[in-house]
């Protein structure tokens, strides 16, 4: 199987270690993993801002780059949701691109979904010493039904204990441009998340979307929490987050 790893623009710029962790996990499944050269952004910011023509342009670009692979894997529920659910809608009436969008959507997977439903990790590449609480990101959870997949994977990591936080399915307040347009409202929402994390008593918060994680980490630190680690699930599973 020839896989494309779509690292996402946020991982590229803000936390490359997530991309390398995903790469390591995918290679451990025995697949051939390629990082397509031309990838930039899936176009979700344009879509979310209401700029349909731009979202369509970037969707076509991504489809052309990714459709040659047997599968596309993305370490983000949000970007995977864009390709799986939004691309086919954006291009529904296009006789050429519509079918191509639908075909790509069917072969595109969020990382934990791919690792538990499509390919199998024969063994976990790393151990993890500590307690973890998992934040369900909205697009992954409500758009792609990512709920059990990350927990099944975490359960297989030696040394790791999962302690669920209250309201783990509650939004963290990131919402992409929302946190920039309505920063103060977003802060109010992420404060509730930070409270829930603190109450869970875990030493690490884990999630599948870097946007949420940057938001949570940024707020935890500003509130004076210097110890709770904030990691992407790929980092935990692959051991790249160990410091």
């Amino acid at each position: 199987m020839r896989l494309a790893l779509y690292v996402t623009c946020l991982v590229d710029l803000m936390r490359p270690s997530v991309g390398f962790a995903a790469l390591r996990l995918l290679e451990a499944t025995g697949a051939e993993v390629v990082v397509p050269e031309g990838q930039t952004c899936c176009g979700q910011p344009a879509w979310s801002a209401g700029d349909r023509p731009l979202a369509v342009e970037l969707a076509r670009k991504a489809i052309a780059e990714l459709e040659a692979y047997d599968a596309v894997v993305i370490p983000s529920g949000s970007c995977a949701d864009q390709i799986r659910n939004v691309y086919p809608r954006l291009l529904a009436d296009d006789s050429d691109w519509g079918p191509r969008a639908r075909a790509l959507a069917g072969r595109t997977h969020e990382l934990t979904d791919f690792l538990s439903a499509v390919a199998q990790l024969p063994a976990m590449p790393a151990d993890f010493a500590g307690t973890v609480t998992y934040h369900d990101s909205c697009k992954g959870l409500r758009g792609l039904s990512i709920k059990d997949q990350p927990r099944e994977l975490l359960a297989r990591v030696r040394g790791l204990t999962l302690k669920e936080m209250a309201d783990c399915e509650e939004c963290c307040g990131f919402g992409g441009a929302f946190s920039i347009k309505f920063g103060a409202v977003s802060t109010q929402i992420v404060d509730r998340k930070c409270d829930a994390i603190a109450a869970a008593g875990a030493d690490t918060v884990v999630g599948g979307d870097l946007g949420c994680l940057l938001n949570i980490e940024g707020r935890l630190r500003r509130r004076g929490d210097e110890t709770t680690r904030v990691l992407h699930i790929a980092e935990v599973l692959a051991g790249e987050g160990e410091s």
Binding site: V7, C9, V11, D12, L13, M14, R15, P16, S17, G19, F20, V35, E37, G38, Q39, T40, G43, P45, A46, S48, A49, G50, D51, R52, L54, E57, L58, K61, C138, K139, R142, G143, E170, C171, G173, F174, G175, G176, A177, F178, S179, I180, K181, F182, G183, A184, V185, T187, Q188, I189, V190, R192, L214, N215, E217, G218, R219, R221, R222, V230
Partner: protein, 480 residues
């Protein structure tokens, strides 16, 4: 829709800032939210006792409303005919102002000096209380929450819990002042006492009002009836004691049959308050008949459009399915950060973020379709399956097409899009950006103040982990 209200919806961003700083409001919201969520959960769980399932019911409910909307004119004609046959009058209002004018005219013709009101959000659309007062007719809100809000000179902040923004302390102070008694220290255990106190005052109004004004949760075409779903019993007093009963409601409230009404009733109270059924469910048909002990001598339906009919057949038709349960706001992280008044018009929360621009004009509420994290909790809980985030998204697209977005946002998006379509240049710039961010960061890999994202770094750090991008490192690794 006066100028003042329009202006308020425009000011969402500024208003949100005020609400976040309101400590009393924040306390009230923090208390209310988990109750709403837990009650609905329990209500839905109770469906299993009747061998029912939420998804199945919700699809049935959606179909009922879609069926009505597909031929709304025909169903409305049927309703009109049946309601008139039962002895009621049916009037039509193009907008809120016309609806208010019709109510005032009826009141004047009937020599009304005081009108009791059961909860009606449409009367808020019509600014009915102000119109009645201007004509020398005293409107008295009788829903406990509405009564509190009216005494305080405020507007409802929630469609089913109008006074959810107020604390017990505030209500106590208000009652002491308005009812002319000394103030006491109250806890939530005293809520029944406060309710009793309001009830004693309201009783006098129920007995003396010449006219009752109610909304309708549903209109039933088959029988020409209005259905009222209430918990306090005030709805019955309002609709049966006074000589005249006026029902003022939106044209989309129609359902074909009593059977359909029963299906929707499985969902409405459960979604709203978690109850399997509300304390009172009233079906009001026609006028007092010979031998009836109570009931109005005159019943008038005022069926209001106020922008609804133009949504038929549009991308937004699904919004007309709304049964006003409040579940979307009860599960909305944004609503419960701010309360309903931040939304600036009658309807708050996700349904308000869609409805306000649709009913008052896109450019009157530019922020509202963006006042969402896109989490889709609202879409998941909606009992009639309205894709609220999709509708907000569609409104955003319309704003872009009509060039209503700020110039800075349009330019930023354009520049970013242009770059994202040019991978080589994008990579080069991303590398520059990574170095720049890394240079801005302190020794712990955090940016504390970032001029490009001022709202972000006002309350959060921006964590930075590497001076090099993934693609840069990946290339280097492959070469090695």
């Amino acid at each position: 829709m006066g100028q003042a209200r329009t202006w308020q919806a425009m000011r969402f961003h500024a208003r949100a800032g005020e609400k976040l700083k309101d400590v009393v409001l924040q306390g009230a919201l923090r208390k209310a939210r988990p109750l709403f969520v837990a009650k609905r959960r329990k209500g839905l769980d109770s469906l299993a006792e009747d061998g029912l399932e939420f998804e199945m019911l919700r699809s049935a409910a959606k179909n009922i409303k879609n069926r009505i909307l597909a031929d709304l004119d025909v169903w409305l004609a049927i309703f009109e005919e049946r309601a008139m046959a039962a002895g009621a009058e049916v009037l039509w209002a193009r907008d809120g102002a016309e609806a208010a004018r019709l109510v005032v005219e009826i009141a004047q013709r009937e020599g009304v000096t005081k009108a009791t009101k059961s909860k009606s959000m449409l009367s808020e659309e019509a600014d009915l209380n102000a119109a009645l007062a201007a004509a020398g007719i005293r409107p008295v809100e009788t829903d406990l929450g509405e009564y509190i809000v009216q005494l305080a000179g405020e507007k409802p902040s929630h469609i089913i819990a109008p006074a959810v923004h107020k604390t017990i302390g505030e209500v106590e102070a208000l009652f002491a002042k308005e009812h002319g008694r000394p103030i006491e220290t109250r806890t939530s255990a005293d809520i029944p006492d406060l309710a009793r106190e309001a009830r004693a005052v309201l009783r006098q109004h129920f007995l003396s009002a010449e006219m009752g004004i109610s909304g309708a949760n549903f209109l039933i075409a088959e029988t020409g009836s209005a259905a009222l779903v209430t918990n306090e019993g005030n709805g019955r007093m309002v609709t049966t004691l006074p000589r005249v009963h006026v029902v003022i409601t939106g044209i989309e409230k129609l359902v074909p049959t009593l059977e359909d009404f029963a299906t929707l009733m499985r969902l409405l109270p459960r979604s709203a308050t978690g109850q399997a059924i509300s304390n009172y469910v009233s079906l009001l048909t026609g006028t007092k008949r010979a031998g009836d002990r109570d009931g109005p001598e005159k019943t008038v339906f005022i069926l209001v459009d106020n922008g609804r009919s133009k949504l038929l057949g549009s991308d937004y038709e699904a919004m007309l399915r709304c049964i006003r349960c409040g579940a979307c706001m009860n599960h909305c992280p944004v609503y419960f950060s701010l309360g309903g008044h931040a939304y600036g018009w009658v309807y708050p929360g996700p349904m308000g973020s869609v409805l306000t621009p649709l009913l008052t004009g896109l450019d009157n509420a530019l922020d509202l379709p963006h006042a969402s994290t896109g989490c889709n909790q609202c879409g998941v809980v909606c009992p009639v399956d309205i894709p609220l985030p999709d509708l907000m998204h569609r409104l955003r697209e319309e704003q872009v097409v009509r060039r209503l977005r700020p110039r800075s946002e349009r330019l930023a998006l354009k520049a970013w899009g242009w770059l994202a379509a040019r991978p080589a240049l994008y990579r080069w710039l991303a590398r520059r950006a990574a170095r720049y961010l890394n240079w801005l960061a302190d020794g712990q890999g955090r940016i504390r103040v970032f001029g490009l994202l001022p709202e972000w770094t006002a309350a959060r750090d921006l964590p930075v982990s590497s001076a090099r991008t993934f693609h840069e490192l990946y290339k280097a690794r492959k070469r090695a």
